[in-house]
Amino acid sequence: MLKINWFSPLPPARSGIAQNFATQLLPALTRRHELVLWTDQDQVAPEVQSMARVARYVPAAPPWREINDSTISIYHLGNQPDLHGGIWQVSARQPGLIVLHDLRLHDFFFTYWVHYRKDRPSYLAALERWYGGEGWRAGEAFCRGGISPESMAREFPLTREATRGALGVVTHSSRALAELKETPECPTTVLDHPYVAAGESRYRQWLAARRAAPHPPYRLVVFGYLNRNRRLDAVLEALAGIPEREQFRLDVCGQLWDEGHIRTQIERLGLSALVRLLGFLPEGLVEQKLSTADLAINLRYPSMGEASGSQLQFWDYGLPTLVTRTDWYASLPEETVAFVRPDREVEDIQSHLRAFLVDPAAFRAMGERGRQSLANHDPEKYVDALVNFATKVLRRQPLAAALALAGRIGGDLSTWLHPAASAYLMDRASQEIVTTWRGKTGGQDE
């Protein structure tokens, strides 16, 4: 049994990590390991507090004595600075295992440094550290409004800034990490995002409810934390552009990045009778909404490289889903989702909607196959794999200290010795560091 520091957004925080990932995984994890749930949130849901001890920390001055009572710290990082800023501050000071819920973290670092900390030089320094002068100049241009956030996330994702000094990194998408070409400088592993599927009898009830509902109209649903990259503009445009639109109703469930803009769009496109904005749904209404929906639209572009907890939830309800062919989504089996190409969004959405009207059963079968694939996402398997990986990367602790030492040596020599002259010293120091800390008791696979 490991004693683990768990730094993560927790319910009731409005994030997929808090609402889906944590609630799905923590029961399995706390059954077999001792967890301390560290938080800087104002509130933590009572059901979470009943699972493990909740400890509070101030990011600027974490209680290291108490933190160091555990065997390892596991940090969950994503693109919400209000929820991940404190976690990143701790992870940057103490090497641990980092779970990357988003791979493109430029938005996080920009908002954290420039908006929250009012420290543009640190933001630019991070870009320069990983992308040289080009990164620094792009950051300057971005601050002036000359480059889009999507472009910055794509070209300068700052993934390695988040994983700097980590003992190990967990992602939920091997394809996204490979495409990113920002491999962390430590061991990485890919785990299937955990999900507890509902029991078969309950699933059958949902199917019966869906079949019993009068069709048409068919119910489309967009769900979750709805930022610009969820492509709601394209969805609305696609729906408005097909003559068969009256056969659909679209429910938009979740927090919108700009509700005024979406309302204007709905009105402009004449969709007021077909589209409803329902906001953030309480848990009870989620079940009602998903069990009676016919098709989910779960687009991301650009994706931040994340695995989608929402997608697993759609599959749990046997819902066929439209997804963007990008990053993690692109790695999903062809027979379990319908793909939308990023550069042909409206055209592909319309094509899928028409196909749905022609053969709804084929789409229902797609949802069924998606549900079957949830077997790969068993939280118990996730816990096993996570703990095995954590145990393995713990052996890298001496190496982390050695790498920090190597950095100090390089830093010191560069201040007083010409690079040509420092080569011998660097070489001797490197040899000794390797001899001492890369022996048979640790770090041997580096």
């Binding site: 000071r93 001496p398 200290a401 920090a404 100090r408 120091a429």
Partner: protein, 349 residues
């Protein structure tokens, strides 16, 4: 033989380890060898300084001096014992203990308070596991240190006891009205525990503390405890004393109090035995337990003020028993056959 004794220490801090290093050099010289002491300064905070010091030691070359081979290097303390040498002996005084059993010790913990504490702890442990076996000969200064090396690093070595400095000068006098506690004033030596015990004694016991404080903060904590517990009239705070004064205080005390937390060796126990004085120690005091036989050469109390107070009261009220225990301690010292000749022979073989 040309022999280098290498050790490390904190500037301005002098304790048993420093004395032992000097005595070893003297013993080597007396045995006809050319011996010199190399002292590596050590600063243990912040934790990142510790790998720095390890590397600094690893980069030293002590194989020759002006073209003349140095036949043997004897390493004593961390990280000096990690200095490489083809003909190295380690006489392990102690490892960096806050990376081991003192990691989360309520009094002595240190590394655990830092964000990089865990990785530095593992770096220290790995350096020890990898590099201690480089030595041709490894001894521990006592069984407690040997046990710890085996438990944490899987390295089995024998213990090798050494006598205190000027062992022949210790003598026995009268049994005075005080207990003697000579030691550096610092958390692990537990002066505070003794002060708390004094406040709980039924008898009007008296303790004379001797030794300098590691830091003003630790001294202030003791002074404050004495004031709060209202035991000012039962404590004498001597500070630094000369070796001669120390021997006199040993000679004329009723008994010696030495209750440290997991002490590695502790000359104080041996000096008390040489002075024919009983030793009060604690069940978790480590090194002293290798020498103190409970109720024969001293008393072993639980590490609580109450238990320690009972032990102090027992000797205070039973002076004849205290004298007998002291004499038994002196006889036991003789039986152990602790000598520098033996140490030199083992370390050079």
């Amino acid at each position: 033989m040309k022999v280098l004794v290498v050790t490390s220490g904190v500037p301005f801090i002098r304790g048993g380890a420093e004395i032992l290093a000097e005595n070893l050099c003297q013993a080597l010289s007396s045995a006809g060898h050319a011996a010199e002491l190399i002292f590596i300064p050590f600063k243990h905070y912040p934790p990142s300084r510790i790998p720095d010091h390890i590397l600094a030691c690893r980069l030293l070359d002590l194989t020759e001096s002006c073209g003349v081979r140095i036949d043997r290097m004897i390493g004593l303390k961390f990280p000096a014992y990690l200095i490489p040498h083809p003909n190295k002996a380690i006489w392990l005084l102690h490892q960096h203990r806050t990376a081991y059993e003192l990691w989360d010790h309520p009094i002595a913990e240190d590394l655990i308070h830092y964000p990089d504490g865990p990785v530095v702890r593992e770096a220290i442990r790995q350096a020890d596991r990898e590099l201690i076996p480089e030595a041709k000969t490894v001894y521990a200064q006592c069984r407690n240190v040997a046990d710890r090396l085996r438990r944490f690093c899987g390295i089995t070595v024998e213990s090798l006891y050494s006598p205190p400095a000027d062992a022949s000068l210790f003598h026995s006098g009268s049994s005075g009205d005080y207990f003697f506690f000579p030691s550096r004033v610092t958390g692990v030596k537990r002066q505070l525990l003794v002060i708390e015990a004094l406040a709980r004694c039924q008898e009007r016991t008296m303790v004379r503390f001797a030794g300098e404080a590691d830091s003003p903060r630790e001294l202030a904590a003791c002074v404050e405890a004495i004031r709060q517990l209202k035991v000012e009239d039962r404590v004498e705070w001597l500070g630094w004393i000369s070796e001669e004064q120390k021997r006199e205080l040993y000679a004329n005390c009723l008994g010696v109090v030495f209750p440290p937390a997991d002490e590695d060796y502790g000359y104080i126990t041996l000096e008390a035995m040489l002075s024919s004085k009983p030793v009060i120690t604690c069940s978790d005091s480590g090194g002293p337990l290798e020498f103190v036989v409970d109720r024969q050469t001293g008393l072993v109390a639980d590490p609580t003020p109450e238990s320690l107070a009972r032990a102090l009261d027992t000797l205070w009220a039973g002076r004849r028993g205290a004298v007998a225990m002291g004499q038994a301690g002196r006889a036991r010292y003789a039986d152990l056959k602790i000598s520098w000749d033996n140490v030199v022979e083992k370390l050079l073989c």
